[in-house]
Amino acid sequence: MNSIHYHYIVDGEDFARAGEASSSLKSKLKQLGLSPDVIRRCSIAIYEGEINMVIHANGGDIDVDIFPEKIVMVLKDTGPGIPDIDLAMQAGWSTAKEDIHDLGFGAGMGLPNMKKSSDEMNIETEIGVGTTVTMVINVTS
């Protein structure tokens, strides 16, 4: 099936630049004329994911495929991995340090919010190897 594909490289070194991929994707989704609800959910999901990649995993790659009926976002990093996914999915649980709190993140809301914004979310993770988060948002649900 034909899709529109976008690839983004997330720089893990510069917190100020975190969100540039999300910003770029949001502009493209607007240009494609997708509904405000779909754009909003995609924006929240990818931005939380992008922030996570910068905070926890020193950056990574984001691949987005836009199909007529769904948007698939794959966020892949080579960070430390998530030891306990169930724990990480609990609202309010975070391993982020105080310096991240000072930047406005690390409240333990990222993964739950990504799941809430998506129609499907899958996390593959291996300690010391990395994490891949796949999120699907249906265009016509």
Binding site: A18, G19, S23, S43, I44, I51, M109
Partner: protein, 118 residues
């Protein structure tokens, strides 16, 4: 309520150069944690925050926030002001603390939304 009302109520300084005074405002979110903003903000919202970095603007961009009010006299950097202009997000500043800023807007009839799990 519109942006001009917010400015008057909070005795706010207008930081952005170009501002639509008549843009409607329906809800308010007050937080220094951007993940809370990403989880709970509704449409046509004003963000009240004491956080002062570029991620405030990125968060506001993602949530289509109309206007950001920096509380307790915080002043955004020139880079932030420039980015806000590009994103068409209005920046205001008030000397009131977060608590008082929330209270003033609540008293004037604005609300943040429902309880979290409703």
């Amino acid at each position: 309520m519109v942006v001009a009302d917010i400015i008057k109520l909070l005795d706010a300084k207008v930081i952005s150069q170009d501002i639509d005074m008549n843009h409607p405002v329906k809800t308010v979110c007050g937080s220094d944690m951007m993940s809370d903003v990403l989880a709970f903000v509704k449409q046509d919202a004003v963000l009240l925050t004491g956080l002062n970095n570029l991620q405030v603007l990125r968060t506001a961009e993602m949530m289509d926030i109309v206007c950001i009010v920096f509380v307790r006299g915080k002043t955004p950097s020139p880079e932030m002001i420039e980015m806000a202009d590009e994103l068409n997000i209005y920046l205001l500043g008030t000397q009131y603390t977060m608590f008082d800023t929330c209270g003033i807007l609540y008293e004037a009839g604005l609300r943040g939304g429902r309880k979290v799990n409703e």
